[in-house]
């Protein structure tokens, strides 16, 4: 199947500090992956590992420092001149439902804006029908949002409305930036199921950004684990999460508590607070926490190695 989105060596460097004492933080460091049509691809990792920055670069909210983004065969620079067509095909859902709607405007306003700006309907009646149709997908009705303000709806309703809005233009790629982290468990499942339905019935590709490995395992086809701007492991979700190769992925999977009260955590989980240092570190960024650390890890950046259908960025597997 053709790749709908290809990221090549995408890098984002932020400089902080004043003119004289400037230091650079590499938020995203050489990220490459590709996304097929009708596929759910998960980007997982801890807070501040560059997941959202990657999403912002794909959407064009941030300018990549270097690297390429290729969407439907054309580079992002080519799409930049056709911004409207691009945004019509690539839509996003954000984490915080209370921030996704302007508190001074009614919720239906942004729906009509979307319909009008992309020319999706010819009359108000038609627009209402289209909006109602998309809202039904997420279990809402047009009456639920019509003339209501953001403060009059619950967080769950708002998040579902936010998803419905992103579906109005029938996008081929949906970027969901932690869409379920602020909704309750039952709603979480129905939203995740909705993504699966979109993939199976409408052929939408979804980049699902999360730190919740359980829903990632449940819904996604492939997964990429990010750590400090690097993708450390990419592969089919059942291989990566059931049999993790990279020491960081192993640490992540171990930190999921078992639903068995008798079982204790097998190993002490240590969380380093040296985030800043890890960003600036030479060699492998995980070297400071890695149980299998070797001398080479501290000096040399590891390359991607293909192990059992999974791409791993680690020196252990180097031949």
């Amino acid at each position: 199947m053709e790749d709908i989105l290809i990221l090549k060596n995408l890098t984002k460097v932020y400089s902080i500090g004043s003119l004289l004492f400037r230091s650079k933080i590499t938020a995203v460091d050489g990220v490459s992956f590709s996304l097929k049509r009708a596929e759910i691809f998960t980007l997982a990792g801890e807070s501040g590992c560059g997941k959202s920055t990657t999403a912002k670069m794909i959407l064009g909210f941030e300018e990549p420092t270097s690297g390429d983004i290729i969407f439907e065969g054309n580079s992002i620079q080519w799409w930049k001149k056709r911004k409207k067509d691009f945004l019509r095909k690539v839509q996003a859902v954000f984490q915080n439902p209370f921030e996704s709607f302007n508190p001074l405007l009614t919720v239906d306003d942004i729906f009509f804006e979307t319909v009008m700006n992309y020319g999706l309907a010819n009359s108000r009646n038609e627009a209402e029908k289209l909006i109602d149709e998309k809202l039904q997908l997420v279990g809402l009705k047009f009456e639920d949002i019509n003339g209501r303000y953001q403060s009059e709806l619950s967080g769950g309703q708002l998040q579902r409305a936010s998803i419905a809005r992103s579906l109005l233009s029938n996008p081929s790629l949906l970027i969901a930036d932690e869409p379920v982290s602020m909704v309750d468990a039952s709603l979480r499942m129905s939203i995740v199921n909705l993504f699966a339905k979109l993939r199976d019935q409408l052929g939408v590709s979804v980049i699902y950004i999360t730190h919740d490995l359980a829903t990632a395992y449940y819904v996604s086809d492939r997964i990429a684990i990010m750590f400090r701007g690097n993708i450390v492991e990419t592969g089919p979700v059942d291989k990566v999460l059931i049999d993790p190769k990279h020491p960081y992925t192993q640490l992540l999977c171990e930190s999921i508590p078992d639903p068995d009260p008798e079982k204790k955590w097998s190993r002490e989980i240590t969380v380093s607070d040296t985030e800043y240092e890890e960003y600036l570190k030479e060699g492998c960024r995980f070297a400071g926490r890695c149980p299998y650390v070797k001398e080479i890890c501290r000096h040399e950046k590891p390359d991607d190695v293909l192990v059992d259908g999974v791409l791993v960025k680690c020196h252990i597997y180097k031949k």
Binding site: L59, F61, K84, L87, R88, Q91, A92, F94, Q95, N96, E99, S100, F101, N102, L104, L105, I110, E113, T114, N117, Y118, S162, R165, S166, S169
Partner: protein, 291 residues
């Protein structure tokens, strides 16, 4: 409509707003009375000189044979006019600069803010004195003086608007608006501007009182508006240069001073209580969280 009523009911809980509102209303009526004035505001020797306040001449008459009360109605009107012109033009500059540099950011932001900072650190009063001395006749019209004052007062407010835009710009609903295909102009007008309006409104009032003060200062030095045209400043200047106190005509001096003080207090309290109302934290303290 119901919302407007509710807003006003909340605002009137603050005694400062109530006092300021009534005082402003009073001054507005006063300035409107100038349209039915029986006397010409500029001509002299229309009434007997130096009469104390009486029923016929509520604020007395001055040494030039003018009725102080009716002159005052023109003065309030003209001073308010200059203030509104200043605030209007400086708001236009401040809104454009604030929104452009806040939303676009980068080099443009740095350039605009540097220009703003430069006008901010100038000793405005001295510069204004020099300019109005050089452009003596030019600065005599209301619009020109308003423009001159506006040029020196936009920078602070542009910074305030910019900071507001900076914080709103980063919120997700602006990103959603981009995703919904709205153009930049439309996003600014529909998504950003409503969040900036309260700031624009309170700075408008502050700018008005600053402009009135500046006009009085310039007029006191014999600069700015034509001294025969009544404004609060020229009235005061006339009374002082004509030795009103030596002549014992205290009402000649007191009328513009009391009116100016009243106007300042009214505008200041109005802006303070409105900005307090618009700041949710301060509002909870006043109105109470439960209501």
């Amino acid at each position: 409509m119901k919302q407007i009523v509710r807003v006003f009911r909340d605002l009137f809980r603050d005694y400062r707003f109530t006092v300021a509102f009534i005082a402003l209303l009073f001054l507005l009526v006063l300035s409107l009375l100038s349209y039915v004035s029986p006397y010409d505001p500029v001509s002299i020797y229309q009434v007997p000189r130096g009469l104390p306040p009486s029923f016929e001449h509520p604020f007395g008459t001055n040494w030039l044979g003018q009725d102080v009360f009716w002159r005052l109605t023109f003065a309030v009107r003209n001073s308010l006019l200059i203030a509104v012109i200043t605030a209007f033009f400086s708001r236009i500059i401040a809104i454009i600069v604030g929104i452009v540099s806040g939303y676009k950011g980068g080099t443009l932001d740095r350039v605009l803010m540097t220009i703003g900072d430069t006008t901010m650190v100038l000793p405005i009063l001295i510069v204004l004195i020099v300019i109005s001395m050089i452009l003596k006749d030019w600065a005599r019209s209301f619009v020109n003086l308003g423009l001159l004052l506006a040029f020196f007062s936009w920078a602070w407010d542009a910074r305030v608007i910019r900071s507001q835009v900076l914080s709103v710009r980063e919120r997700d609903f602006v990103r959603v608006a981009v995703l919904s295909g709205m153009s930049t102009m439309k996003i600014v007008g529909k998504q950003l501007l409503p969040h900036v309006l309260p700031v624009i409104f309170t700075t408008f009032i502050n700018n008005m009182s600053w402009a009135i003060g500046m006009e009085i200062t310039l007029a006191y030095l014999g600069l700015g508006i034509d001294p025969t045209v009544p404004t609060l400043g020229t009235m005061l200047q006339r009374a002082i240069t004509r030795q009103a106190l030596f002549l014992g005509l205290w009402w000649w001096l007191a009328a513009p001073i009391v009116t100016a003080v009243l106007l300042f207090i009214a505008l200041y309290w109005l802006s303070v209580s409105i900005s307090e109302y618009l700041d949710p934290r301060a509002r909870f303290q006043r109105v109470g969280a439960g209501k």
